[in-house]
């Protein structure tokens, strides 16, 4: 296994390891200073990710295991710890947003962003605040003019993503093969997918499919 030349784990931005100009004076070079400050801030915030992720996972683990205990006061303490950890998490996301450049409105990127924000948001009472703008329902794609999927279309999408054929899917939903195909075509149209493979890829990324979905295919 040949290892590629060690690229820095966190690619430090230009300016970080640059020599400061001899006549550098705080205040007179406010643009340089603010650029440096934001890069340093972003780097520090990035360093926080690992430990905070670990912390969140540990307290989450403790919380889940405490559910089996009878000690109510201990449970309360643990719940508070989880709440505080989640607040720290939301704050870190917020700091990250401060340093990030605006995202270009490109389909591939916005799809990925929807997936990210969605995951960042799930289960977070505070994450709406943390995510700032771009707060739209999962169903509403960021592509302008896209209509949300109907419950039937979502169901069809879920079955397609799970790998069912048109025939199997139709049978599971108790609808005709043709109707199933129509729903699928409509889903592809709404999501802007050219073929099934792309539809599946988009669906996975955008997580429009409820997850995990214990409910039965035909309600």
């Amino acid at each position: 296994m040949t290892e590629i030349e060690n690229t820095a784990p966190v690619p430090l931005a230009a300016g970080f390891d640059e020599e400061l100009p001899d006549d550098f004076e705080i205040g007179r070079h406010s643009s340089t200073r603010s650029r440096l400050a934001s890069e340093v801030g972003a780097a520090i915030a990035h360093e926080l990710n690992g430990p905070v992720t670990a912390l969140l996972l540990y307290v989450g683990d403790i919380q889940q295991r405490c559910d089996r205990l009878a000690d109510e006061s201990l449970k309360q303490v643990v719940d508070s710890a989880v709440l505080e950890a989640e607040r720290v998490c939301a704050l870190i996301h917020k700091i990250g947003d401060l340093f990030e450049a605006p995202i270009p409105e490109d389909t591939a990127i916005s799809v990925a962003r929807d997936a990210i924000t969605w995951w960042a948001r799930t289960g977070h009472p505070d994450s709406k605040v943390a995510m700032g703008t771009g707060d739209h329902a999962i169903n509403e794609s960021s592509r302008s003019g896209a209509k949300p999927l109907t419950p039937r279309e979502r169901e069809v999408l879920r079955l397609v993503v799970q790998g069912y054929s048109n025939k199997e899917g139709a049978a599971l939903m108790g609808i005709s093969y043709r109707t199933f195909e129509c729903h699928r075509a409509e889903v592809m149209h709404k999501l802007g997918a050219k073929n099934t493979a792309e539809l599946v890829r988009l669906a996975l990324l955008e997580t429009t499919v409820p997850c995990p979905s214990p409910e039965q295919p035909s309600a």
């Binding site: 296994m1 290892e3 590629i4 060690n6 690229t7 820095a8 784990p9 690619p11 931005a13 230009a14 300016g15 650029r35 972003a42 780097a43 915030a45 990035h46 926080l48 990710n49 690992g50 430990p51 992720t53 670990a54 912390l55 969140l56 996972l57 540990y58 307290v59 989450g60 683990d61 889940q64 720290v88 998490c89 700091i95 990250g96 340093f99 990030e100 450049a101 591939a108 990127i109 990925a112 962003r113 997936a115 990210i116 995951w119 960042a120 289960g123 977070h124 799970q162 069912y164 199997e168 996975l204 990324l205 997580t207 997850c211 995990p212 979905s213 214990p214 409910e215 039965q216 295919p217």
Partner: protein, 151 residues
């Protein structure tokens, strides 16, 4: 009464007492250890690789159900690892990364790049235990029904 493919697969797993296997490739050992501890209590078996080359080797040598992959790592970065993995495998890959995805000096969207290279799901660090479990179980639910349905 009908069951979802996921429920059936889970049922079979329980019956055979065969734990799901998760490979975590992250140079930050604290994240890997936390994932391992959490997933252990959910009866998942977690293998840690702190170097990307170790991760690729582990994938070649044994079976895993899902890979959790960090993007920023020394040596081969997560995107390179993803390219490697996608050459011969469709295993679900959850890409995780902190922010600093784009800055004026570094205008790259790494999670979008990962998505283009075939990542199954992208998660932004830090994430909570509940989010992690939900994400991992979601990737399990994506398995083709033929793998879970009895005839």
């Amino acid at each position: 009464m009908e069951f979802s493919p996921q429920q059936i697969t889970n049922g079979i797993r329980k019956l055979t007492k065969e734990p799901r296997r998760i490979l975590v490739i992250d140079d930050d050992a604290s994240v890997g250890a936390a994932i391992q501890a959490l997933m252990g209590h959910h009866r998942y078996q977690t293998v840690l690789a702190s170097r990307s080359s170790d991760g690729i080797r582990a994938l070649r040598q044994s079976h895993f159900d899902v890979v959790m992959l960090d993007i920023f790592m020394p040596g081969l970065n997560g995107l390179d690892v993803l390219d490697h993995v996608r050459r011969d495998s469709s295993i679900p890959v959850i890409v995780m990364s902190g922010f600093r995805l784009r800055s004026p000096a570094q205008p790259m969207d790494y999670l979008a790049m990962a998505a283009e290279r075939g990542a199954t799901l992208c998660m932004r660090k830090p994430f909570t235990a509940a989010e992690l479990i939900k994400a991992v179980e979601w990737t399990f639910s994506l398995q083709r029904p033929s793998e879970g349905l009895p005839a």
